[in-house]
Symmetry: C2
Subunit: 150 residues, 2 copies
Amino acid sequence: MTPAATEERSLRIGEVAKRADTTTRTVRYYEEIGLLPGSAERTQGEHRAFTEADVVRLKEILRFRDLLGLSLEQLKDLVEAEDARALLRAEFRRTEDSATRRRILDEALGHIERQLDLVRARKAELEGLEEELVSKRRRVRARQRELRDS
Amino acid sequence: MTPAATEERSLRIGEVAKRADTTTRTVRYYEEIGLLPGSAERTQGEHRAFTEADVVRLKEILRFRDLLGLSLEQLKDLVEAEDARALLRAEFRRTEDSATRRRILDEALGHIERQLDLVRARKAELEGLEEELVSKRRRVRARQRELRDS
DNA sequence: TTGCTCCTCACGTCACGTGAGGTGGC
DNA sequence: TTGCTCCTCACGTCACGTGAGGTGGC
């Protein structure tokens, strides 16, 4: 039974960094400040081991960092919220109680909507900038036509 | 004749920072690295004087920094390109030669289009993220309906 | 065994934040 | 004259970059 046949484990830091399109330094730093798990029982000098899930998480962090310009402190809040959601999902699967299930789904929805608000606010700002550039371009093109028709 | 009646001059740094929604430290730093003009003939300890045009420029810089995540080095290139364009606009008004005018308009158009490319690339990334969030939300909502209808 | 990747300091850098101590204009 | 804002160092901070010197796994 290969490791891939059970659960995928033990990616090395270089591989993780490459897949997330970042550097090993960034991965170590994120571990240091608690943004990435940091394989708890690791003795001094031992190599770090990551999972496929860590790569997904890292990619998500980088995306929010780059696209929304969040600080690592803010990203930590976001990641903690994701972790809380993961726990809730596990609870969701364990329970049959529909009141509990409803509450968990409500929280998930709220979380997603807060993220959507951030993303859409940014998009709106970018669209404002885009429109300004487009009308600038329209004015230049109008002058080009004037020149051609004179 | 008030100063406002001629050309608006001599804004103080605190006023500039407030209008651009930033800090005086940032304004000084941008002057230091050459991103803002820095009233050439100013003797040691003398107060900085800015114009309305400086505020516009600063706001533009901050917008590109925040929305596109450019480094100050990259913003410097952008600002230099803007300055070059300002010179060209002046030349445009001085000349009657339509070949020269055509060339200037072509350059202006190219500049605007490069900026538009950056803005649209960012917007596309944000839209990718938005779509992912929207389908996540759809899935949560579907489960809520399942729960309600059971 | 030989590379290649990994490890831990630790100092450097970019883009400012934050006082400390002093001077200048309504 | 009294505040308020301005000035110049200069050290601190956040988010890493970049070696230095050494160890570990295919």
